[in-house]
């Protein structure tokens, strides 16, 4: 297990190096003054000169990339602000350290992810298991049709529709806002309820379909038939045999999805004007704020890679047939 983790972590670091390098190179492929890119749209000539000098933009991008990379480990001072390791650089557009901005934005994305993940796991797996249990009956048909319909919905369609139906035309729920959980737990849940509903609607559909199909697959396996043949009750076959078999797939997919969601749900955050990582990504792109965008990208990629490793490790715990060699 330890060997596996070490090897995978090393592989992940290589991948992150490549991702950050590509992001860096990508932005120097845009024909524009890189100093201006760092400086943002509202930029005074003095500021521009300062940035050129400070960031060494006269150098080629590999050199600059190397500087950026070494700053992560050694820290640095930008515009009079000291930045200790791990230092992700300084946003000249926002006049703040990138690490600080990321830390500010992450709780929003985390809350959005955790809330909707709880909802879609409960409802998705529950409905999927029900549909598999009542395979071919009315309940299954209704669940399957509804989940198919919902999975064809898009957040940019369902989101504005939900805003209209729940907030603007009826005042049923609060307009989406982010209030920190530590400050006001009830306001936190109330402010995020609409985004949770919309985000989990589509994900619930996917998890229903996935749970149903992997349960149906497990139920047709020989060992399930054997368990039934030796007289085991239907419910224990369903829960202890089929569910345990189906769990591997679900955990794998959930782990990967979690990594993606935590990196920022761009469309959801844009639709509901929530200031999380996804919204930060698109904002830094619009402002041409390279250091910030590289920061968001690397954080998002780290989460994806990290959760992939977790998934592989968890898989071995759930399914004893798989050994991590």
């Amino acid at each position: 297990m330890l060997r596996f983790l070490v090897r995978r972590t090393l592989g992940a670091l290589v991948i992150l190096l490549i991702v950050s390098m590509v992001t860096y190179a990508l932005f120097f492929a845009i024909p524009a003054d890189p100093a201006r890119l760092y400086c943002g749209k509202t930029c005074s000539p003095e500021n521009l000169a300062l940035i050129r000098h400070e960031m060494g933009f006269d150098k080629s991008w590999p050199v600059q990339y190397w500087n950026w990379l070494s700053t992560i480990f050694s820290g640095g001072t930008f515009n009079g602000v000291h930045c200790g390791a791990p230092c992700f650089g300084y946003s000249f557009d926002k006049k703040e350290l990138v690490g600080g901005i990321l830390a500010d934005r992450f709780p929003t994305t985390l809350s959005l992810t955790v809330g909707s993940a709880v909802i879609f796991l409960i409802f998705g797996i529950g409905t999927g298991m029900l549909a598999a249990h009542k395979q071919g009956k009315a309940a299954d048909k209704i669940a399957s049709s509804l989940s198919l319909l919902a999975s064809s919905m898009q957040i940019y369609v369902a989101g504005p529709l939900a805003l209209w139906a729940l907030c603007y035309s009826t005042d049923l729920l609060d307009l989406p806002t982010y209030i920190p959980f530590t400050k006001d737990p009830i306001g936190w849940a109330g402010g995020l309820l609409v985004p949770w509903i919309v985000l989990s609607l589509i994900w619930t559909a996917n998890y229903t379909r996935m749970t149903r199909s992997s349960m149906v697959e497990q139920l047709s396996e020989d060992y399930v038939r054997t368990a039934r043949a030796k007289g085991m009750s239907g419910s224990s076959v369903f829960m202890r045999y089929a569910w345990r078999g189906a769990m591997g797939t679900i955990v794998t997919v959930f782990g990967i999805d979690l990594g993606v969601l935590l990196g920022g749900a761009i469309i959801t955050e844009t639709t509901f004007s929530l200031h999380g990582l996804g919204q930060l990504a698109i904002q830094s792109f619009i402002d041409s704020d390279l250091s910030l965008l590289v920061g968001v990208t690397v954080v998002a990629a780290t989460l994806i890679v990290f959760f992939n490793i977790i998934v592989d490790a968890a898989y071995a715990l759930i399914d004893p047939r798989i050994r991590l060699a």
Binding site: I15, V22, G136, A143, S144, P160, L163, I282, F285
Partner: protein
């Protein structure tokens, strides 16, 4: 038993690929029958597909959208409007001072069936039907491009193995670790600047090509992985070995022996990928980095409509519903194609 679409099939007559196929073949295969005609896999697939009612209906819906897209100029000519004219600005009585249509329900009337766009005052119906063109052209082009890349790299990795396989595998790993939405957004200006120098005026085809290239860049890995697996197992089969022993060149083996066995996964995967590209394209436009004005686009229509939610939801309903119906029909069609090709798949 249910089909993956959730609709039950009526008894075993419509169970894809089961007893009824065998029964059909048994009668036609009767020994000594002078009129013996076997069915090609394609014919079998077609028969199974025709028996799947959901599949046929969704195929009709998809064909309807395609027909509307192709006939868009004809339809708008008969209807007497076009997506470029700012009707609301030409006739001041159509829009209020704040840019909203004066009529109820987004200005729906005998003249403007689906109403008027707030602000510019363009006709929603023609924007909608020309918007299908944008979606379809980009989605089909992206599907073709990703299929070509996926097939080439998938077979190369699976059949050649060794270092090639390792290299392609690592490239896929890296691309899969990219936060795809951020990257789609970030690569758009790069691709655009590679295609046209900044001083030139952007030609009309530019956004189409740029979006297609960007979506293709991060869209081929799934197919390549699947095809790698299939060709890896095909490589060990006897008929490939026989071809090698008889001195067939690698090109011949790839094109004549391996590729024909891959058509099923290729076709199934591309049918399933197409709606995903439709939604991805609309998503880019929704975020404001996709196809830009004045090309009609559903994603941008939805984004614009979101600004008027407090006053009128009609602007959202038309592009939103069109999108959901289009994607749903395409998803159902993809599922049916998969069942028709691959009746054994247990889902």
């Amino acid at each position: 038993m249910t089909t993956p679409t959730g609709a039950t099939t009526d008894g075993n007559t419509s169970r894809p690929g089961s007893t009824s196929d065998l029964a059909d073949n048994a009668t036609t295969d009767a020994p000594g029958d002078p009129g013996f005609r076997g069915l090609s896999p394609g014919q079998l697939m077609w028969r199974r597909f025709l028996r799947d009612r959901t599949g046929v209906v969704s195929a009709c819906v998809v064909l309807f959208f395609v027909a509307v897209a192709i006939l868009a100029p004809l339809i708008s000519m008969l209807y007497g409007k076009n997506p470029e004219t700012h009707y609301g600005q030409e006739d001041v009585s159509l829009l209020t001072d704040s840019g909203l249509p004066t009529g109820p329900n987004g200005g729906m009337s005998g003249d403007f069936w689906f109403g008027l766009e707030p602000g510019l005052g363009r006709d929603v119906l023609t924007l909608l039907i020309y918007g299908i063109r944008t979606s379809l052209v980009i989605a089909v082009a992206t599907s073709l491009l990703t299929t070509v890349i996926g097939v080439a790299l998938g077979i190369a990795a699976g059949y050649l193995g060794g270092k090639t396989d390792y290299l392609i595998g690592r490239v896929i790993d890296v691309l899969m670790s990219f936060p795809s939405q951020i990257f789609l957004i970030a690569t758009m200006p790069v691709v655009t600047s590679l295609l046209v120098s900044p001083n030139e005026k952007n030609p009309g085809w530019l956004p189409f090509v740029a979006v297609t290239l960007v979506l293709s860049l991060l869209g081929w890995m799934g197919l390549a992985r699947i095809l790698r697996g299939v060709s890896l197992s095909l490589r060990e089969r006897e008929f490939i070995e026989a071809a090698k022993v008889t001195g067939a060149s690698p090109m011949r083996i790839i094109f004549k022996e391996i590729l024909p066995n891959l058509w099923t996964p290729i076709l199934v995967q591309s049918t399933l990928a197409l709606p995903a590209f439709v939604t991805a394209e609309a998503g880019l436009s929704y975020l404001g980095v996709g196809v830009s004005e004045p090309t009609p686009d559903w994603g941008r229509m939805i984004a614009d409509a979101a600004n008027y939610l407090r006053t009128d939801v009609t602007f959202l309903l038309f592009p939103g519903l069109a999108m959901v119906v289009f994607v749903l029909a395409f998803n159902l069609l993809g599922d049916s194609v998969r069942d028709a090709f691959d009746p054994k798949t247990n889902r």
